[in-house]
Subunit: 551 residues, 2 copies
């Protein structure tokens, strides 16, 4: 059978552009160039799926094709379970993935229901059809490393070495994000083919033969203050302790292995044997994975002690290591090394900023370049943004439907959404544009080990916010809305919501864009203002965000 790939061009198979957009984005998530394990419908992030199985995928496709302009399809963990008559102005698709009643919301219980065919792990954007390949995380990673550079290295990573691990869907963005900040990056990845793939894709500059070769390259580019990334086939739990044993000086250490699920983190040992073990004896595999995670995490702590800047990159490595018995907190209960959000991203969240994105349904890269131009014209004074677009155009390959990610905040998103709608209306781009974001956004996620770690008022675990976010986007006029459990940090450890709206160029759509793209970042301002962040309160006051009790 032919492999799935998003249809390009302006021919509709569905009755509305909105349903067609959902269909193309679903296809795009599965496109073998985009997805991690095509046969299993796995898009990224461990086992994040776009549909429950191929049969249910076909049913979703058929349902979307038949969906009337005033109908809404319901998706329960990757399966279309109902069609409702709603309204033309209502969402075409409503999605809930991987959600369990809290007391049953464990990885083990989920795995059991998954095996029974009753559930699916949706990760964040996989199950909600707004994954746009590694670029999706690239700007976030770029912004994080830029913040690290600002805070610790006088604004540039030139002359520094970053050590990290993982070259999968999201983690593969790391080397490019570091080199965009002019630093040297050493990435460890056990699956040799993944290292080679990232070189081919242009995300990674070079593969090292072995550790001595890797270190020689690091030293060479560090001395020359040239941005360069080196991939090393190996296991982080093995290589990091070796670096420590050799006394090798690391400036920044992090990792983005898929540690959130013990079945996805690869334990030390011969890679073929390890992959075979996962099939034959998952229980033993998990035990070994946890052992390796503890070793890996301890090495990060030791590098920090030796002077490196250490940060957790949102994969729950610390949380897993802690479950295994490792001491990962200080005497005040704070993690020994911070997560990237409280460390570097939260101030952006207070302004309603986050990984906003758009994709060209035409399939034509020219549409994205046209929008890039409009972006620079719309925000002429934003230097950071101009630098990002310049580097992205030069270094970021388009994979699947051409797309652009760009962190915009409260006010900016609405403004730019209308600009895009206008480009569609005027025919300056050749088809409607899908506008969405990651679930990792300012007001859409509760995840105490990641996005909501260490909130000022202690409200890290309050999950009312992402639920309100989904309801508010639904009420404001989004085209598809989703609610997920466990993205990024594993089943039970997060609650989060996604939203997508399609700029079709109509005046009616402009009104919906106006509301949705205000509501959505507005939730971030509400959430952080309520938690007591001064910056969020300022933003609310300056930009007229309505907070009850403030009158």
């Amino acid at each position: 059978a032919e492999m799935v790939r998003a249809q390009h061009g302006t021919t509709l198979r569905c009755k509305t552009w909105e349903a067609e957009a959902a269909l193309r984005m679903l296809e795009n998530n599965l496109d073998p160039a985009v997805s991690l394990v095509y046969d299993e419908l796995i898009v990224y992030g461990g086992a994040g799926r776009a549909a429950r199985n191929w049969k249910e995928y076909q049913t979703i496709v058929r349902t979307l094709k038949n969906l009337e302009p005033d109908e809404t399809m319901l998706v329960q963990s990757g399966k279309a379970v109902g069609v409702l008559r709603t309204w033309a102005h209502a969402p075409r698709v409503l999605i809930a993935n991987s959600n369990l009643v809290p007391a049953w919301s464990t990885q083990e219980y989920f795995d059991e229901l998954d095996r029974l065919g009753l559930m699916m792990y949706g990760q964040m954007t996989a199950g909600s059809w707004i994954y746009i390949a590694t670029q999706g995380i690239l700007q976030g990673t770029y912004e994080t490393f830029a913040a690290v550079a600002d805070k610790h290295f006088a604004g540039t990573l030139a002359g520094t070495v970053t050590v990290t691990a993982g070259l999968g869907g999201m983690s593969g963005a790391q080397p490019l994000a570091v080199t965009m900040n002019d630093g040297v990056c050493l990435v460890i990845e056990p699956i040799d083919e993944r290292v080679k793939q990232k070189v081919r894709e242009g995300y990674l500059d070079e593969q090292a033969r072995d550790l001595p070769h890797a270190l020689a390259l690091c030293e060479q580019y560090k001395a020359a203050r040239i941005g360069w990334s080196i991939g090393l086939t190996g296991n982080a739990a093995t290589v990091l302790p070796e670096l420590l044993a050799q006394g090798y000086k690391v400036d920044i250490v992090t990792d983005q292995t898929s540690a959130h699920d013990l079945l996805d983190y690869l334990p030390e040992g011969d890679i073929d044997a390890v992959l075979q073990l996962r099939k034959d004896d998952p229980v033993e595999f998990r035990r070994q994975a946890l052992q390796s995670i503890m070793k890996h995490c301890q090495a990060i702590i030791d590098m920090q002690t030796a002077g490196a800047v250490a940060l957790d990159y949102g994969n729950n490595l610390r949380g897993q290591a802690e479950k295994g018995g490792l001491k990962v907190r200080d005497e005040h209960g704070q993690f020994l090394y911070p997560g990237f959000v409280p460390g570097y991203i939260r101030p952006l969240f207070c302004e309603g900023k986050g990984p906003f994105r758009w994709a060209a349904l035409s399939g034509d890269p020219a549409d994205i370049l046209r929008i890039d131009r409009a972006l620079l014209e719309t925000f002429p004074d934003n230097k950071m943004l101009a630098r990002w677009i310049e580097k992205a155009q030069a270094k970021v390959p388009f994979i699947g439907l051409p797309a652009r990610v760009c962190w915009l905040g409260y006010g900016e998103r609405e403004k730019f959404g209308l600009v895009i709608n206008d480009l569609v209306a005027r025919g300056e781009v050749s088809a409607p544009i899908v506008i969405g974001r990651d679930h990792l956004d300012c007001g859409s996620v509760a995840s105490p080990n990641r996005e909501s770690e260490g909130m000022l008022d202690g409200s890290d675990a309050v999950a009312d916010w992402p639920l309100l976010n989904a309801l508010a986007n639904c009420a404001s006029g989004a085209d598809w809305v989703s609610l997920h459990n466990g993205g990024g940090v594993g089943i039970g450890n997060s609650t989060h919501s996604g939203m997508v709206i399609v700029a079709t160029g109509t005046p009616e759509k402009a009104e919906r864009l106006r509301r949705v793209l205000t509501t959505d970042p507005g939730m971030g301002v509400f959430r952080h203002a309520d938690a007591g962040y001064e910056l969020a309160r300022q933003v609310a006051e300056e930009r007229g965000v309505k907070i009850p009790g403030w009158e």
Copy 2:
């Protein structure tokens, strides 16, 4: 200060009837005649609150009064946290109460955040402003006992004795539900004033002086086959074992004490000392409560062994006893005595039936009686319904805003919603009518120890459904929508959603009623059809419910 009570009549304080309706229903929940502990804003079901505290109540009231016809207020655990510009056709209020990221969703962690002022327990209808006093549960309880009568006692409870416990908000419906089925009911309740109150309200026929008096009354009315209810001041954990010790023959045994929260179940002992202990030493109180629960639960099991029909009435008594170490399951992992849902209610859920209800914003009982008449005219062949309305008119006092609860199913709800809207339009009732339901409904709740216990396919704990329910109601045009955690069975043990729509009599509202009142029970048909219930599949086919993959 004056106590809160719902405003009556047709004068609006808000800019729309929809916002006014939310305000009146909030006021109605708190009305001292309706609520359990006025000062603490506790409405029912343990500590189910309508707003986080009195200050936040005032902010909600002010916000509703100022709310524009195209604005939406966001409520996070009983606090108004934001106002968004949405649409006239969108919900006026979106509510998320008591939700925690699953791994943190324990009673202890919640209590801590509650103490910090960051959260509130919303129970089901308390925090979502559609509680209508004890009548709300009455028909459900009546239907359950009718089903018990059908299954075990040839269609009537005449000549049987039911023993139960609890005379609070919901539990207070039990004696009347039994006597409406012509049975004798003995209810045990430790707080003497609650027994007296239920006699005053007409829910309970008589208070017994002591146990011998109570049993004499039971025997007298049982022999005469007359429906009669007897309240006994005492503790179930003490009285039930006494009944067993005396060899007293009980026909049906259940209980509806608020066992879902260990701080609400009252342990054995002198009642004043027990209430003092709760203030002084909550840890010790909880320990003693658990001991009493285990004793209470064991007594129910022993009565079952002695021949009684035993059922759990949705308060998680079995779950708590199990946590304490009691054996409450057989060798197949099934509970020794069933919950009322799998035992008696699930077939109704398969037809989209559940505790549908309406309340008269005018405050005028004549409006409800007019609607009663329309109900009997609309469904002339439904005997069960006619019997319910006759008994309800005779025996159910109106408390707070006059209201009626009536279990209607898929198709019936839409039909009757339009009838009500028409009555409003024609001025046959004097003000708009609020239409809603309990969260305990066919498609709105995942609660493995209660509503979704023992699902055919093992999907008891899947929480995607209530989330989809909330999103779908939001998309269909409800006026307020809510998502809660922990209702009925305690924090972490359930996920559920509420919806309300106001029949204002406009043609536009008729269209929204048409959709919402189809969508909402439709979720119950989807959910049970997906789980494999033949009856739900039949209903779907006969009534044209669109299920993908069936074409």
